[in-house]
Amino acid sequence: MSSSSKNSHRSNATISRRGLLVGASGLALGLPLAATVPARADETIKIGILHSLSGTMAISETTLKDVMLMLIDAQNKKGGLLGKKLEPVVVDHASNWPLFAEKARELISKDKVSVVFGCWTSVSRKSVLPVFKELDSILFYPVQFEGEEGERNVFYTGAAPNQQAIPAVDYLMSADGGLVKRWVLEGTDYVYPRTTNKILEAYLKQKGVVDADIMINYTPFGFSDWQTEVSKIKAFGSAGKKTAVVSTINGDANVPFYKELGNQGIKATDIPVVAFSVGEEELAGLDTKPLVGHLAAWNYFESIKTPANTAFIKEWHDFIGNPKRTTNDPMEAHYIGFNMWVKAVQKAGTTDPDKVISALPGTKQANLSGGVSEMLPNHYITKPVFIGEIRPDGQFNVVWKTKDLVPGAAWSPYLPGSKDLVADWVNLKCGNYNTVTKTCGGT
């Protein structure tokens, strides 16, 4: 659940305010745009790609569709899978929530795809979940999100909060991060920032940070007038203790936020901002010189120098025909997810969802930053965590990374509602097993 989803939410907000226009917008956005590659009988394995290619989410999701096409193309050049060619089926749900479930159903029951790679926002994932459960198919979800979910049919290749938010806070508390004592949790007002901030608040308090040293602010989607918020941060930061901002601000709202930081002269050495939704793509529309030193936490950066990453970037530039296009974290997540699926299918000898779901846990795949990620029984993967500093050229300079790969936790131990829950689809066969009551079925 990450960057730029704000757009889609913003249009929702506008619609509800417009009242009269609900019908009109639904009508206009609802025009389905399906682009199916002509099918060639049964000798292909179909792969569904469920990303928005039009509407407000297109900004982030178009890239993921392209990277999937690239991966499938590369696999076909290697001879396909189980002796068959792979065939991508791309559907566009036009950033429109009601259309998500409909398109997912179409992909699985009409196009008979073996697996689906897709979704960006949490709301889109939640709305296709019932369909994947009912029709028993597989979804690979590539975006960092708030966790608190453990579904049998979904494989989460993006970061859970313990693979991004918690390590970032740990870094800021360390000597290199500046021994931060005072925290501003600044987010866009919706489920991902609110859940993440709840987890962070509980974590900070456990670390001995008092209430007076935590400030939590929320702003609406697409917020553009940051003057008051930034001066609030500035005032909060002048209490004589080292202060940092943890930003879960989403998508477009980031650009005016960083511009205002620059304008009001808040430098990274005074009050560093660590962001969870700002990547290479978001910085592309921004003059990054005043932002040098502000931070982002991800599991992948384009600037990481490994042979695998260099090869991936080259392959991407060749495929897309534009050497200026950046790579980002969710793209790597799709890279890992796709290769894990290929390996699981080879291991199972079939694309039958039930067999592939059983074969996936334990599958290992080298990631692009030099480690080997593994699919865990809870359907999350192990990932390294990197803290990067914004460079003048809009890329990130890795200043810190975790020693080992961090296994993703489906349920946060810092929230009262989920601290006793675990997900395990290998031994317990349950996505929300309560370790206290010893039952499957949540709290």
């Binding site: 007002d189 005016p256 793509e281 529309g285 500093e389």
Partner: protein, 536 residues
Amino acid sequence: MRCSRAWLVALLFGLSLLLGQTATRASTINDAIAHFTADDFDETGAGISEVAASGSPRAAVILQALQNGQLMFSAERKAVYVQDDAGKLWDAVTGDAVGGDPPADLDTVNINNRLRSAIDAALGGLTLLSADPAKRLDAAEAVFKSRQASALPTLEAAFAKEQDGRIKYVLAQARAAIVLTSPDAATADKLAAVEIIRQRGDQDALALLLSLPDGTAVPVMRAANAAIAAIQQRLALWDAVQNAWYGLSLGSVLLLAAIGLAITFGVMGVINMAHGEMVMVGAYVTFLVQNAIRGYAPNLFDYSLAISVPSAFIAAGLIGILIERCIIRFLYGRPLETLLATWGLSLILQQAVRTIFGPNNREVGNPSFMSGAFDVGGITVTYNRLWIICFALAVFVALLGLLRFTRFGLEMRAVTQNRAMAASMGIRTSRIDALTFGLGSGIAGIAGVALSQIDNVSPNLGQGYIIDSFMVVVFGGVGNLWGTFVGAFVLGIANKFLEPYAGAVLGKIAILVLIILFIQKRPRGLFALKGRAVEA
């Protein structure tokens, strides 16, 4: 300044430090920079302090390069270089040009925020005696922030030499900051220092006083607490001024966004949902103009906005005329159909831009005169906001003048007030309709130029402003430019006074509720007008 004895003590204190330092100077600059080849933050940190303490004339150059990411190292050759903007390498210590091939493992010496602060502090100490007054001021501020006792001797020397009153003032503050945080300064000096900091009176001063080390003498603590209370009171006052300023700034943005709509919706009565997309067109024209300037005449960059304004007006105006001729003129008097048609049109325009320019944000740069900020008393005024307020007022005045003093304005008002009469006086009303719609759209395009400076240039730019624009026009009174003017500033200021207390989300909701209540009481807004809008 106030207390010469304080200076004497500080001088002695500084001298003792100076004596202590001479011993460490044994380490040469060469040993110091060897730390940079380790590619490790702790090593680099050690290197920074040793370079700063080395007394080498190259120290400032090396640290400056490190700060700018232009200090390179080769682990293989155990050498450190300074790379200039052209990519040429210079030996870090000698400053000589490096001949031959650059080393294969050449890499930047990486720094993080901790090291960046260390560099700021070190450079502050090194550039206090610089010939450039701006550098001296920065250095004094850097020392104020770092409070490094080691900078004290240089600070004293700089203070004695300084002619510029403003820099001298900051130097005194920096000295006071060091005295306050040093454990062994005399209480009388600390009291004098508190007074100097109290006079500074800003958030940095507050931060300093709030973070006095434990074990500070009681009278100093008491004075500090009194100073904190005084500063907080002063800042609270400036807070109100700041809110008013932010309100004006938001109001000017609202005015810019709404003023075109005040023509198309207010004067003509067309419910124009594609208004936001005209703003977007203006922003993209700015992007294109800047691109062209970057490509063909980079030195004209500061004039890019001046070129963009007429270009955006013409582009958006022509699109507006086209829309009126092709769609809207068939729909006059049918508001619901107009609403649907223009809403559809806005989606088409958005997707068209997304297809042509791609879904990502486009970078529109700020010309130099629109970057940065300056302080007025306790508030920070950013240049881009200031210019946008001026620009909004200029556009408003120009539009007012156009309506009042030109023949086109006269005809427009005539058609608005009584179409049949105007037609029988020989005015071609359909031509006036098209031109009026074009004018409204053109002004929206101009607004796009200004908004490109503070917001994202993306296909969704217009969506963010359409609701606010309608809100302003309806609140101000349909069909009245002054209503739009007053409405924009009232809503802007009200919003900014609510935001600090209610938060951004609730503040916006509160404003909408207030408008609903207001409209119940006065359905035609602040300034009601008689004319076609009323008849419709």
